[in-house]
Symmetry: C2
Subunit: 125 residues, 2 copies
DNA sequence: ATCCAGGAGTAGATTGTCTACGTCTATGAG
DNA sequence: CTCATAGACGTAGACAATCTACTCCTGGAT
C-alpha cells in the first residue's frame, strides 16, 4: 500500500513551505550567527518544532540565490568535527532585505487574517 | 524612466500572494455566499484593505481547479445588471477542505513566527 | 458610433520548490 | 581492513502556481 500514491498526491502532501518565505527564513537564521547549510536546515527544523523541513534541493539553490543578490557572503571553514563546510554570514544589505521581507510577510498575514477571520458584514444565513 | 524596469523586476514586485493560499481565500470568500469570479476578486481586494490583488489569470484557473476537486459547484446566472456570470458555491467537501487549509495555514504561520520572533537562546553580540 | 466597465477565459513565461540523484570525508563497528 | 552511516555540498529535471498579456462578449453612456 505504500506505493499507491500518485506523484501528484505525494507532491501535494509534501509541500510544507510557502513560496517566497524561504529566503526570509534563511536570512533570519543567519541573524543568529554564521551558519552552514546543513546547520540552517536543522536550526529551522528545531526552532519551528519540526514543522519546517527544508530539503537540501531547496536550500542550496536558495543560498546561491541569496549570495548572488549580495544578501549573504560565504567562506569555507572547518566544522568542530574537522569537516569542510561553507559558512554563510548575512550582509548589511541582507539585513535590510530581511526587514523588508518581514514587513511584507506581516502585511500579507494580516491581510489573509482579515479575510479568514473577518466580519462578513453582509447578512447571510 | 517608467519603462526601465526589467521583466524580472516587475515580476518580483507584483507577487502579492503566497502560493497555496489562493484556494483557501477563494473558499473563504464563498463561505459568505455564492459569488462569481469578478466578485470574488473584488471581495478579496476590499476585505483585505487593497492588499490582496488577485489577477484573473490566477483566479479562473484556480476556480476550475477547485471545481475539478469538487470543492465548489457553479452555474450560469444573470447579475443584477442583466449580464451573464458564472456563480460559484462552496460544497460540503469544500467546507471540509477549507477547515483543513486554514489549520495548515495557521500551523505554518505559527512556525514561521517562532522563527522570526523566536528566542535566539544562544548569546550573540 | 464608440468607448468603457463588467464579466469569462486561455496561452506562455517565470519562478520556487521538491524528488532523486552524486560526491566527498570522518568515524565507528565488525 | 572495509564498510556503513552521518555530516556536508551540490545539481538536474519535474512540476504546480502564479503572472502577464492577450481574446471575446454584453450593456450603457457619451
Amino acid at each position: 500500500m505504500s506505493t499507491s500514491m500518485s506523484t501528484k498526491d505525494r507532491y501535494r502532501n509534501r509541500i510544507e513551505l510557502l513560496q517566497g518565505t524561504l529566503d526570509m527564513l534563511i536570512l533570519q537564521t543567519l541573524q543568529w550567527g554564521p551558519q552552514h547549510g546543513y546547520g540552517i536546515v536543522q536550526a529551522l527544523r528545531v526552532q519551528s518544532g519540526e514543522v519546517l523541513q527544508v530539503e537540501t534541493g531547496s536550500l542550496y539553490p536558495a543560498l546561491h540565490r541569496l549570495e548572488r543578490q549580495g544578501w549573504v557572503r560565504s567562506e569555507w571553514k572547518q566544522t568542530e568535527s574537522n569537516q569542510r563546510a561553507r559558512y554563510y554570514r548575512i550582509t548589511a544589505s541582507g539585513k535590510r532585505q530581511l526587514v523588508s521581507d518581514l514587513s511584507r510577510w506581516e502585511r500579507i498575514v494580516e491581510a489573509i487574517g482579515s479575510i479568514m477571520h473577518g466580519r462578513p458584514e453582509e447578512g447571510e444565513a
